[in-house]
Point group: C2
Chain length 586, copies 2
């Protein structure tokens, strides 16, 4: 018993020590509280009212000074405009407000991010970035910041048409329609990427021989099919002739490329037929096949087969397809205005399969084929300009409450301008007069008012404006107007003094209007998309941040070709709004 | 030893228990941390860009989901727009930002306030309040919300002139000048207070007898001075005649009023002389004396003597003075544009002292004397209207960079309008034709452009506007325009169809312009003070919150006399901006 007592006495001593240590530890941890913010915040004094507006009572309330004691960290009810209560935190005289409230209230952005091994919170006033204007803008150079655009990946692009080679929009109608603005932007973005990106590696799989036995691909020809190398008199080169019943497996060319996904080949069909490409995908390594079929069907999906109609192709043409886009648009196929989201990606291009009767040549795979996309857009614009010089937009467009609907067949100054920018570039590359001629004819709608299917509006009887949407009443959409001006600039610079005279006059009058009217789009903390508030007597239609940065990008471009100070000043101020800057108040 | 062991074993047991208890306590306290905010914040999705502005990359960054563990409370660096770092607090996925940063960044307001026994934080988006529009506005009713104005207390009012009975402004020049807008507002605020406040108690100290021996004050007449009651034939009443050398103590009337501070008396001087009022003040109970002297000096301060010149006063007139204002303007006297701040207040009116030779009658003290102030303003306007119908403003006014200076002698549509509102009210009370005649003549400058010393501007060749500041180029100040319209309304309503025809036409054309141009002043989150941004190509001159609420108060007033929906809609939206509301973005 005594031993036990002695033993337990020792044990108790150890226990005591341990508990004391634990107490000390807990005490220390409990006291480790964050430092208080440095002193009370400054009081932004409200300036004394001018005679005109003498509200005498109100003064900005200030924060009481911090007490001498160490600040406690505690929850505090924060009453917002006497309307709602959010839970904040308080340490002495400093109050902390939760970002989850703040981001909704002020429409700002933030996230916890990794930095230097630790975490930090990154707050941003806006989500959109302005591009640096490199060199002065040129009509044969990069178009604004379009090298960063990926038109075909937008979910309102249903797919790239196999027949036309250009995107089909579903923005204002799920049925899909060819939207000249989207098509021009598709062309201009690829034109710009071509200037800013390195030339791609091109893997050649089949050239049907160079006469020395080189350039033949690894073909598999099943029973009942034939594949021969023949001389094509029109092209002065050997080509592969294939003949396979539709019911057969088809002749198949081994590709096995796991790096790049732009396939290109020359094709001439003698009957109905198809060229299909078999893809290994990220979707549990499933195989998907994209079929390019001699029909006019736009796009279809059956299980893991995706179909694009490419027309009859009864004479030679080159088909260049982005297999990534074709796969994703097929898997995401939908009857709505937006392509369904999908994570699927191609992993490997396994092989090409041809059926029916026809000829193939120059089968290649590369990372990009920007000029093919650019010329697809340029030639679509050539083919689809009407007798009035316009690209009629075959969808109903209702800009908003208070505006009459634009019925299918309306023209857009933005479409006309972006088409000019595209066509002028095609002309500079090819010197084909058709491109310049189309661009010159595209000025015609600029001279007619909306009632006569033109795109011209006049602000307050004084300032000529070119309407992205020639609504009644006029809407004065800013970004579309500036794109129209850029198109006119491209054209007048390219066409020369005589041919380009009309474009020059339209450009100069438009620039005058722009310089005079820019302030009407400035809210002091952002920009306004159009002037519907003035035309309809409503609230201003504020531009969201990506339109705001578009405005800035456009002004930067215009400022590089016109040294009026207004451009530099507005760019500077409008940029500052992206970081929370504001115009002064009185 | 064994006993000790046994004893210490017991002691150790107790110690162990105590330490265990302490550990438990500390553990519990340590764990009592503030609750985390409910889940991760919502992600405001950025809508997909329209064709016109297809920035493809940016998406609003979101917050990562909260981890399953109990959130720790810790400091976190918050990087603001990649520009500065502030110390925030973090609990799990919620981040708290310090209000000391937030108030400067967003220009908002907040303070810790007592409520229900505890403390809470009160956040406000703006510091200015809108007044409720009571009944529909009437030309003989309260003027807008002016019953809340205290013109004379503004620090840009040097003092109330003893000669003129109206305020003298130092807003744009420390020398001081009579500013018709300030004078009209002084009149209109007192007119409005007279309608909204209870009639004051009036303490009568001297009426020089009613013939029955009543109404005589408690006078002290030192040696060498005389004081007698005499009959005044022009006034048909007894009055006090006094005669005292300037070097004497003067005859003195006991007042001893600790409640009210507006003194009033009828005075006629036969020589140079003065009436002084001795005040006990809050300044260590020091005595200050306010001297009303037969000179034209504006104001002077020597030690604890304050001097106001009141002119010769050689015929009967009533002098009504707010001793609180007179004391504070004297003590705060300064050579700058603003009266110095002072905490001094009168505590008790001890006595009145008269020197020189003259007559006194009807000495009273009351809490207010609004009609005296109103008529002082109205009669000043009558006396000071010039042959062109205007009240020339005798100070140089430079509205801002880009505008020519207005040279002394310029007219203001706001001054003309506020004078109309004042004069029409004086006419309705007195039926004196002079008041109406002056108001009618005041329309003349509305018909002339700035180059001809008029106040009319025309916006874009279309909309007539009445300029608070008839600058070159035009400035289109909104609040001044609306005050001018209210004046024209008051006049056309009061003058009747025939006499008021001109005012009616001016009013109607102005209202048309207002309805058309209001949207140009709307930023989607506040309002713009004027249109200088459009006229000069600069940043918008944002209206601070008290001008914003003035705009709203004016629109509410106009909406009560014109049922066009635009007024109700704009009032509703502009009110919402005070609580952080915003117009929609696209």
């Amino acid at each position: 018993m005594r031993c036990l007592a002695r033993l337990s006495s020792k044990a108790l001593l150890v226990l005591c020590s341990l508990l004391a240590l634990l107490s000390l530890l807990l005490w220390t941890r409990c006291s480790q509280r964050p430092q208080p913010a440095p002193g009370p915040p400054e009081h932004p004094g409200v300036p004394d009212s001018e005679e005109a507006s003498p509200q005498d009572a109100p003064r900005a309330p200030g924060m009481p000074g911090s007490a001498g004691r160490a600040p406690r960290y505690e929850e505090i009810d924060c009453v917002i405009n006497e309307e709602q209560t959010v839970k904040g935190r308080r340490e002495g005289s400093e109050v902390f407000l939760p970002f989850s409230w703040l981001e909704r209230y002020f429409q700002v952005y933030g996230r916890i991010a990794q930095a230097d091994g630790g975490e930090r919170f990154e707050f941003s006033h806006s989500y959109s970035k302005v591009y640096a204007q490199r060199a002065p803008y040129r009509p044969d150079g990069v178009f604004m910041s379009f090298e960063g655009y990926n038109v075909e990946l937008r979910d309102r692009v249903k797919c790239i048409s196999g027949v036309e080679g250009v995107p089909l929009s579903t923005q204002w109608g799920p049925q899909g329609y060819f939207y000249p603005i989207q098509i021009a932007q598709y062309g201009l973005s690829h034109y710009s990427k071509n200037l800013t990106e390195k030339p791609p590696h091109v893997e050649v799989y089949e050239t049907a021989g160079d006469g020395n036995g080189n350039g033949n691909g690894e073909w598999t020809v099943p029973k009942g099919c034939s594949l021969t190398t023949v001389w094509d008199k029109t092209r002065l080169t050997g080509v592969k002739q294939f003949s396979c019943p539709e019911s057969s497996e088809g002749v198949s060319l081994e590709l096995n490329n796991g790096r790049d996904f732009i396939i290109s080949f020359d094709l001439k069909l003698l009957s109905n037929g198809s060229v299909s490409v078999v893809l290994e995908t990220t979707e549990r390594n499933q195989l998907f096949t994209v079929h390019y079929v001699s029909s006019t069907q736009l796009i279809a999906l059956r299980d893991r087969d995706i179909f694009y109609g490419i027309g009859a192709r009864s004479s030679w043409s080159t088909l260049t397809r982005d297999l990534l886009t074709d796969l994703r648009k097929g898997v995401g196929l939908s009857n709505t205005k937006a392509v369904k989201q999908t994570k699927i990606m191609p992993k490997r291009v396994l092989r090409l399969v041809a059926k029916g009767r026809g000829f193939l040549d120059n089968v290649t795979i590369s990372a990009t084929a920007h000029m093919a996309a650019f010329f697809a857009a340029s030639r679509w614009l050539l083919r689809n300009q009407d007798e009035r010089g316009g690209w009629p937009i075959m969808v109903t467009r209702k800009l908003g409450e208070g505006f009459k609907s634009l019925d299918p067949g309306w023209y857009s100054a933005m479409a006309q301008g972006q088409a000019m920018s595209t066509l002028v570039r095609a002309y500079q590359l090819t010197k084909e007069p058709a491109f310049l001629g189309a661009a010159l004819r595209a000025t015609a709608p600029f001279k007619l008012p909306a009632e006569q299917r033109g795109v011209k509006a006049v602000f307050m009887n004084r300032h000529d404006w070119y309407e992205e949407y020639p609504t009644t009443p006029s809407s004065f959409v800013l970004n579309g107007f500036m794109y129209a001006l850029i198109g006119l600039y491209d054209l007048k610079e390219t066409a020369g003094e005589k041919l380009g005279k009309e474009a020059r006059l339209l450009y100069e009058r438009g620039m005058e209007s722009l310089k005079a009217m820019l302030p009407l789009f400035d809210t002091g903390s952002g920009t306004i998309y159009d002037l519907r508030h003035f035309m309809l007597g409503t609230a201003p239609n504020l531009a969201r941040w990506d339109y705001h940065t578009t405005h800035i990008n456009q002004l930067q471009l215009l400022g590089s070709i016109d040294d009026a100070p207004v451009f530099k000043e507005f760019v500077k101020r409008w940029k500052s709004y992206l970081r929370g800057g504001r115009a002064k108040h009185n």
